[in-house]
Symmetry: C2
Subunit: 346 residues, 2 copies
């Protein structure tokens, strides 16, 4: 029997790990509900990236193959409909769904160059197939096409809100390259990085669709906070999966983060139990055997559970926020979605 | 005695190479005239790139050291004043001057990663000092800060016009990675690449400042065409300098383009005289001795003169365009500037 409380229990000695979110909302499947708005999304993105038959076109089409989860666009269209009381999805809101996926993909392309990754979603990465130079350019190109599409929406506030995202993405990636000596600072640094690298895009896209249809700043803030909390939870779970899912599920090798020198949630929690990790974290797991040893410590610690629990906390806050909106199927789907974020295994 | 004609003489057997532009305009020094508007430009850029004392800050500050020529901002503020009949420089126009320099610098940072360059303006490149990953991120960061500044101007058309630039920059860089079999196509490809990689930024920045103060689409087109023509001329001269200036003047080694496999104006013209170059161009000067041999052919050909002449043609067209604006000191300075573009030796 789990006894959820809404108070923040991190770091916590005995959290409840049941992974269930308690809410009165009717369970709505977010994917089904969002589907009608997401038809042809990838085709529309390819139209934005219009280039005549060329290598650039092949590269750009490579990730927009329609096989992605379209997780960001899904949240965006659901949030749009949850905020629209008197209208259908606006064309500008649909554009934001596209743009969010474009910005996300552009940042993946550059991240893979920066990390020298060779696999992504089970596919060989662009840098591996076409080389680094073309991967850098393709990322730049997708981002610039996103800016062009953004400008076309014709709303200055929306342009400002989404321009902030690319800045956050870079700041986040930069933060990831540095480490903090002090343990407390390190956790703050990690969560701040997580907001910038993952949650900012979701939070600001949610805010942008709400701005397009609603003049109430409180609604914008609810949309932003829902996106922020779900985004952070999403990344925390991602960081857990790097320790728990097998390579074939993830479409990339596991323990990638450790191999990249990154100390994510599970390691940071494990370090509270096993101070031996401190030195390894500081040298970014660069000594021989560090990765295997750190992996072992994490398995023996409660780091994975504690990170999951922290993700759950962020989802509860997301639910609290979104519940402030008027009732709608889409609002309920956004609530169900938090559950999916927590329980996904790839 | 030179007999300039305005007809396009390219490719031409016996062009006039005097490099002088004939115009009735009073000679105004563009740098002096633009100076008051450019005071503190680099400090203001650094404020846009605000980051707390961090490595990212050092990297961003590295190129905005105030030692650049600020060629693009200068054209932008002069064009702004040439278009403003009843007002001073608007804050948004000053922002565009800054943004043009920021976009330019961001693209240099990525170009240097892509080309693996180790020198730029006599300084060690960012990729050489901080490594490729951080250079990629710094380029992304400067570009995103430019987008944030652009959004703040609050004019949708201006946002659209300048978003197009980053797209052109990437397309141009991509074109540069490919080559064309056919000679005529190759020249067209080269000039198209030159527009996208160099002139689009200048042309669209000029258009943007004119949009901010003027509702007449003819004026926007004049501003754009002046920028387009000066921009192409600027790059043609740059391509010539790679063959004629010594390394210490340029702040980077000469014959860089050949070493990068690029066939620019002088080589393309030389190929009309020496078809032996055809094979080397196609294999991007990759065989041993190609660079030295191609260099020699260019020196023996009229390729350099013909490229200079072509640049002159573009400057004449720039003058014809800008002369359609009402008379002003700034208009005359923009005319003088074409002369400086042609005669610069670094």
């Amino acid at each position: 029997n789990c006894q959820h409380t809404s108070r923040l229990l991190y770091p916590t000695p005995k959290p409840c790990y049941c992974k269930r979110i308690h809410s009165d909302a009717k369970l709505e499947d977010p994917f089904t509900l969002a589907q009608k708005d997401l038809n042809n999304l990838y085709d529309d993105i390819k139209k934005e990236l219009f280039v005549s038959k060329s290598e650039l076109k092949s590269i750009c089409d490579y990730y927009f193959d329609g096989k992605g989860k379209a997780f960001r666009p899904m949240i965006v269209v659901l949030m749009a409909r949850a905020c629209n009381s008197h209208s259908n999805l606006l064309p500008g809101q649909r554009s934001i769904a596209m743009i969010s996926e474009m910005i996300h993909t552009a940042s993946l392309v550059h991240d893979d160059v920066i990390d020298g990754s060779d696999k992504r979603r089970g596919k060989t990465t662009i840098n591996e197939v076409w080389g680094e130079r073309k991967a850098i350019l393709a990322g730049d190109f997708i981002l610039s096409a996103a800016s062009v599409a953004l400008a076309r929406i014709g709303n200055n506030t929306v342009v400002s809100v989404l321009s902030q995202v690319t800045e956050d993405l870079v700041r986040g990636e930069f933060m990831q390259l540095g480490s903090k000596e002090n343990e407390e600072e390190r956790f703050k640094h990690y969560l701040d990085k997580t907001f910038k690298k993952t949650a900012s895009l979701i939070a600001n896209s949610c805010k942008a669709v709400s701005i397009l249809v609603n003049s109430d700043p409180e609604v914008h803030e609810i949309a932003f906070q829902y996106g922020r909390n779900v985004g952070i939870a999403f990344q925390l779970v991602d960081d857990v999966l790097d320790f728990t899912a097998c390579a074939s599920q993830l479409g990339k090798p596991s323990a990638t983060d450790l191999k990249l020198g990154l100390a994510t949630g599970p390691v940071l929690f494990a370090c509270q139990q096993f101070p031996e990790l401190q030195g390894m974290i500081m040298r970014r797991f660069s000594s021989s055997g560090d990765v295997a040893r750190a992996w072992q410590y994490v398995q023996e610690s409660e780091g994975v559970d504690q990170t999951n629990y922290l993700a759950q906390h962020y989802c509860q806050e997301a639910i609290r926020q979104i519940s402030l909106l008027r009732p709608s199927l889409e609002r309920d789907a956004l609530i169900s979605l938090t559950q999916m974020v927590l329980t996904r295994d790839k």
